[in-house]
């Protein structure tokens, strides 16, 4: 296909947002437009998949505001995968949103759908970014467009949490990411993502570790501790937004950006031989273990899931900094695997809230008998988080561990095993109590399943979590192009 049609991928959700705004008065039309835009976008994105799989790298420069600093788009394996996940999950999330927003009689639904479409446009921009400048532009746009979604409820507590969300994400990106980008540009004269990296030969020694730090903590969306505070704060948002944050766009944009920067800006080989960059795997390991321990102590379902996400994100970062081919593939695939599993878990949490108005873990005892479909989906999602076959989580964990063995990195292997144990410790009791325990005294159990739209979305994502275990070859083929040139 013609590379000049790449901007269409961004334009489509933008046009959708405008159409949604115009149709705001008629909910049915508005939601049809939302769904239609999502489907068209997914078709458009997936139509690029074969070309990119064959090794083509379409590239299109939209404008060049400053010399050497252009607004350019390109598709490579990592971005292709992120765009596919985000656009596909948007369809399911839209179906779910319709059920959830109507089921809970939320206000300002038009604004919700507009901002959602804008956020997807921004996510597409991040996926397609051909250089750091373009990435940064859409990264900020994603933060700004999701702010009204997080603050959706509009009461004092929500506003305060949304302020934390915006403050941390904008603060880190302007305070750390922007200097990192300028530093890269001044040192190398370019910001274009190039396979093999651009930093080598321009920056050396301890400065590499420092630059890596600016990037990793500047991309607050990846929630490496201590810049993770925004994620639990954002739990005040409606559940479809939590799903957007945790699975479709926001945190995925964070780890995607870091992975892309490590592969295309630093270069895997260069970083492997640079001692000053080794700190990152310890930071990631610390985040994985600490987040899992904090999750153990949570009593609120959504907050527990938030800390689980923080840990899972650092899996991706850990896998990337193992800096071996199998681990890089594992990092890429974990972005997808975690997306399917986590969106299922959040959908389930939202279904429970919509049908039973339950948010705390102790209220869930015995709920499996009332909401079997929801809890079955929840179980699949939880198993995927732990990494039990036959779920998606197992595939990525396999590759990450494989990479760790290639690198003979026993620290990483230990961290992953320890974290698996911790994940099992906080997910398995919930599953056990939900299915087998009697309801807690005083908890109202007179409710049935969630609305149909919600169940449909849940069924699709949980099925996908399992299907991905058996059918993942196209994605593996695509992502292995990332590391083709590397020695094993």
């Amino acid at each position: 296909m013609n590379p000049s049609t790449l901007p269409l991928i961004l334009l489509l959700p933008l046009v959708g947002a405008i159409a949604i705004a115009l149709a705001g008065r008629w909910p049915n039309v508005r939601e049809t437009i939302s769904l239609l835009t999502a489907v068209t976008l997914a078709v458009l994105v997936f139509s690029w998949f074969p070309e990119v799989s064959e090794g083509l790298r379409p590239r299109f420069v939209l404008s060049e505001p400053l010399p050497g600093l252009s607004l350019a788009f390109s598709l490579e394996p990592l971005g292709m995968m992120f765009a596919c996940i985000a656009s596909f999950l948007w369809i399911i999330n839209t179906i779910y949103s319709i059920g959830y927003m109507r089921g809970n009689n939320e206000k300002n639904q038009t604004r919700f759908y507009i901002c959602f479409a804008l956020a997807i446009a921004a996510a597409m921009g991040i996926a397609l970014a051909d250089n750091l400048f373009t990435l940064f532009l859409f990264y900020e746009l994603l933060t700004l467009s999701t702010y009204p979604l997080v603050a959706h409820k509009g009461d004092a507590k929500t506003i305060a949490s949304a302020r934390v969300y915006l403050g941390v994400l904008l603060g880190t990106s302007i305070g750390l990411l922007l200097p990192a980008i300028i530093w890269t540009w001044v040192a190398t004269g370019t910001t274009t993502f190039t396979l093999g990296g651009i930093v080598e030969g321009h920056i050396a020694g301890a400065a590499v570790g420092l630059l890596l730090g600016l990037f990793v903590f500047g991309i607050g969306k990846a929630a490496v501790m201590p810049v993770h505070r925004w994620l639990p704060a954002a739990m005040v948002a409606p559940t479809p937004v939590s799903a957007l944050l945790h699975a479709v766009a926001v945190v995925k944009a964070g780890v995607f950006s870091i992975t892309k920067i490590i592969i295309y800006i630093f270069g895997v080989d260069f970083l492997f031989n640079e001692p000053s960059a080794q700190w990152l795997q310890f930071a990631a390991a610390f985040t994985i273990i600490t987040a899992s321990i904090i999750a153990l102590y949570q009593t609120n379902l959504k907050r527990m899931l938030a800390y689980s996400t923080i840990g899972q994100l650092s899996y991706v970062i850990m896998a990337t900094v193992i800096l071996k081919p199998m681990a890089e593939v594992g990092a890429a695939i974990h972005i997808a695997a975690h997306a399917f599993g986590k969106i299922t878990l959040f959908f389930a949490a939202g279904a429970i809230y919509t049908a039973a108005h339950k948010t705390e873990l102790w209220q869930l005892a015995g709920i499996g008998r009332r909401m079997p479909i929801t809890m079955a989906a929840f179980t699949i999602g939880a198993l995927s988080m732990i990494g039990v076959p036959p779920t998606a989580g197992f595939v990525s964990k396999w590759f990450i561990l494989g990479g760790a063995f290639q690198a003979e990195n026993y620290f990483a292997i230990f961290t992953i095993i320890a974290s698996t144990v911790l994940n099992a410790m906080y997910f398995l009791p919930i599953i056990y109590f939900a299915w087998l325990a009697p309801p807690a005294p005083g908890v109202d159990m007179n409710h049935g399943e969630a609305p149909k739209a919600i169940l449909l979305a849940l069924a699709v994502t949980s099925t996908l979590t399992i299907v991905f275990f058996f059918f993942n070859q196209p994605l593996l083929d695509l992502e292995s192009q990332l590391v083709e040139s590397l020695p094993l």
Binding site: P65, L66, L71, E140, R163, L170, I174, G175, P179
Partner: protein, 497 residues
């Protein structure tokens, strides 16, 4: 000579000659229309001059055929063209967007006088940008300042009177300092023409009167430009002026003083006084830095949107002064770009404020709570311009901030602390802007009324054109870049690499 050759003179003459005609009109609307047409014509002339500068260049214009250095000469280069675009653009924006607001603020009987003063201020500001000698710059500076005092005090708000008195005193001190400096130079060189002065100074370099002159001129202009801590006149003057006047002066009046500062320091002193650029750097950068940080911090604590934006202006002037003080090619580029981009953002922001006040009657935060839900279009434009002020990529503000940071990084030794200061101040800008944005979207309106009320469509269109210009010049900044490049070349004159 055909008419096209007279463009530099017409730039001043058109508004200056229209002013008395406007005063003769006995009707507020007609006077407004006359002023708008004259302002539009000036804007058109500025565009023609810009095209000429970017093409073959504009030859030096000798008034009445008297050749410089004896006659009065008018010079238009890239920097002048940039200033002319800003001044005439801001004036047009203020007039076009301000009809409803001015009709409310200005008594109909006095309206013709008011619009006359507006055009005189416009003529003065244009005159500064085209004048080729130091004395005419002074004359035009006085013309524009006196007219500006009238504009600020013309509204119904009585607090403007004390604000403008402060401005008058400080402005006069600044102008006097400038005149003393020019006097010293005239005493030593016998010339007032910039180009001639730069040549003749070579004979009297490092003499005490010249060094003192440089000091007087720099400080006098820093007063006029409101470089921190010489800014004390600015916040109250911006706050209590009629809203349309604030749109006009906030976008361009302080920048014109910086323009003269650049002309003098680089065009005249830089090549002649050995230690001058170091002294200038050491003098201006600490002030600029304190302005960037402190004024941004003060802006956070304001309860009035106009006052908040006024303090933000003081901080932004700090950016321009910082960039100008670096005395490098990249620094001068950044300074000029930021003049352009900041004018664009601030003009849009004050235009939005004008619309807010038009519908709600006051600019205090408590009164504007929930305004984002009542005036979604205007508020969205405010957010776009606000992002440009912060320097978010994709907006004009990012281009100049990028240049500024790159310029600062080139400074050996203090690059990193300066970058940190700029970043910190950008974050402070996020804080003070978001305080208002949050209040506007999620605050409860004072009377609990959340029904829609927007300003009329023409004003909304204008506001949105201005907001979109912020995005356009963020993605396609070729025009200001070319002008700044041309301006930098003349200023440095091949002195610096």
């Amino acid at each position: 000579m055909n008419l096209a050759d007279h463009l530099p003179a017409l730039q001043v003459i058109v508004p200056l000659m229209t002013a008395p005609l406007v005063i003769l009109l006995r009707n507020g609307f007609l006077a407004w229309l006359g002023a708008l047409l004259a302002s539009l014509a000036s804007f058109g002339l500025a565009i023609l001059l810009t095209v000429a500068v970017l093409g073959a260049g504009v030859p030096e214009y000798a008034m009445g055929g008297w050749q410089p250095p004896f006659g009065i000469s008018l010079n238009v280069d890239g920097l002048s063209a940039l200033m002319l675009l800003l001044v005439t653009g801001a004036s047009t924006l203020g007039l076009a967007g301000g009809r409803l607001s001015l009709r409310r603020d200005i008594d109909n009987r006095r309206a013709p006088m008011f619009y006359g003063a507006w055009l005189i201020a416009l003529a003065g500001l244009c005159g500064i940008a085209v004048a080729g000698d130091a004395f005419n710059v002074f004359v035009f500076m006085e013309i524009s300042s006196l007219a500006t005092y009238i504009l600020i005090a013309a509204g119904r708000d009585r607090r403007a009177l004390s604000a403008v008195f402060k401005y008058l005193i400080i402005g006069t001190i600044g102008a006097t300092f400038y005149l003393i400096g020019v006097g010293f130079i005239y005493m030593m060189t016998g010339t007032l023409n910039f180009a001639d002065m730069a040549l003749r100074l070579a004979d009297v370099i490092e003499t005490r009167p010249i060094i003192i002159a440089a000091g007087f001129i720099t400080i006098g202009l820093a007063l006029k430009a409101a470089v921190f801590p010489l800014h004390i006149w600015l916040p109250r003057a911006y706050t209590y002026a009629p809203n349309a006047v604030t749109v006009f002066i906030a976008a361009c009046s302080t920048k014109v003083a910086i323009y003269v500062l650049l002309r003098f320091n680089y065009g005249v002193f830089h090549g002649n006084l050995l230690a001058h650029s170091d002294l200038f750097t050491v003098f201006i950068i600490p002030l600029a830095l304190s302005g960037i940080l402190l004024a941004s911090a003060i802006a956070i604590y304001q309860g009035n949107i106009k006052k908040m934006l006024a303090f933000s202006s003081v901080a932004q002037i700090g950016y321009i002064a910082l960039a100008a003080g670096l005395a490098t090619h990249a620094g001068l580029m950044a300074a000029q770009l930021h003049m352009f981009n900041h004018a664009l953002a601030k003009g849009t922001l004050f235009l939005c404020v004008l619309a807010f006040v038009l519908t709600t009657g006051s600019a205090s935060f408590s009164n504007l709570a929930g305004i984002g839900r009542r005036m979604p279009w205007t508020m969205a434009a405010f957010v776009i311009a606000g992002l440009s002020l912060v320097g978010v990529p994709g907006t004009a503000g990012f281009v100049s901030k990028w240049y500024l940071i790159v310029a600062v990084m080139g400074m050996p030794g203090w690059g990193v602390p300066l970058v940190m200061a700029i970043i910190l101040s950008s974050l402070l800008a996020v804080v003070y802007l978001w305080r208002f944005v949050e209040l506007a979207y999620y605050g409860q309106p004072p009377d609990g009324d959340v029904s829609r009320m927007e300003v009329p469509l023409p004003l909304r269109t204008l506001i949105w054109s201005a907001a979109l210009a912020n995005i356009y010049f963020g993605l396609v900044p070729q025009l200001p870049l070319a002008l700044a490049e041309s301006g930098t070349t003349t200023l440095l004159g091949g002195l610096l690499p």
